[in-house]
Assembly symmetry: C2
Homo-oligomer: 188 residues x 2
Amino acid sequence: MERELLLLGLLRQGEMHGYQLHDFIERNLAFCTDLKKATAYLLLERMAEKGWVTVQETREGHRPPRRVYRLTPEGEAAFQQLLRENLAHFEAAKTGSDVGLAFVDALPRAEALRLLEQRRAAVAEQLAAFQAAPEHSGGYQLLIDHQQHYLRSELAWLDAVLARLREGRLRFANPSSRKSRLQGEERP
Amino acid sequence: MERELLLLGLLRQGEMHGYQLHDFIERNLAFCTDLKKATAYLLLERMAEKGWVTVQETREGHRPPRRVYRLTPEGEAAFQQLLRENLAHFEAAKTGSDVGLAFVDALPRAEALRLLEQRRAAVAEQLAAFQAAPEHSGGYQLLIDHQQHYLRSELAWLDAVLARLREGRLRFANPSSRKSRLQGEERP
DNA sequence: CAATGACTAGTCAGAACTGACTATTCATGA
DNA sequence: TCATGAATAGTCAGTTCTGACTAGTCATTG
């Protein structure tokens, strides 16, 4: 859905072939979507069937033929529609990284601390990478701004958690209280 | 990967059958992972093959037979391993909602404003829902704390963007400058 | 009581996605 | 000059995931 929005959005700026689209996304937008090459080709084909883009096969020398995609007026309409929907709604981001937090208390406190410090370093590193890239080659400044904001927020939260852990203010449940939580609180 | 961590983590607290696991996740952890029923069954089956859990089929009356899963020592080891990896690493969360931001400048300013205000309301609503649930029935306080922090941060960022939009401080690129950005900056 | 709708439990065909691959061209330097 | 590796371009077999379904049970109520 938003993958299509992305492809359409890129195609608005001029015709392109699949490899080019995928490559651009990989290089510049990998931080906000992950679209594999095969998936990109699949979506483009499907959008061609829907009449959102036209395909034109070209060949240079003995290279495999390129399929060049170009936005149609219907494609532009679909883009507008998808964009409106996308902007108006909000879906909270989901990370696999969250899950582990549910179980920190399964580890010795000291180890939890060590591991979360590693995580903190990882976040800091990603943030630094973003701040290093000066005005980012691809444009899309809002996206980058958002990502930086997000990473800073993660960092702040992790710092707060680490502080609580260090000061022992983080409750490590014992197994029995855990069990009762899971089964549901109703029975006393 | 983290889906398995989650299932193992829940199974540590006592044997359960597939439906129960899925149901618990749906009710209490839907905000941080989305694991469909069929996927849960698939993963459990696979974990059984790997020897991480044992299965015991039981039947009550004419109901379809239940498969009750119980963690094995190997399962506990795997859990520990996955948990350590999970805690030590960080993978930035990805949302489809981000993509649209790349193209706000394709809409008239006033409409972009209206749509993003809708989005803001959606975020605020989700946040309110979290704050309403008092100490959340399922426990997992860290997760909830994290989610609230995340939502507050999104809200703040959106507010900043909206302010910039209202004051006209947000650059709406014209098509030609967009194009040159896409093709790459190298050629002048 | 019988009909209705919600809950429990799980299955499966098919949609969606991806890792690994082929095959050509181009740049590099030993 | 001719291996080596990177870049270009795309395909496909196989895995992963999910929407929609079956089917029994329970609670309610008209």
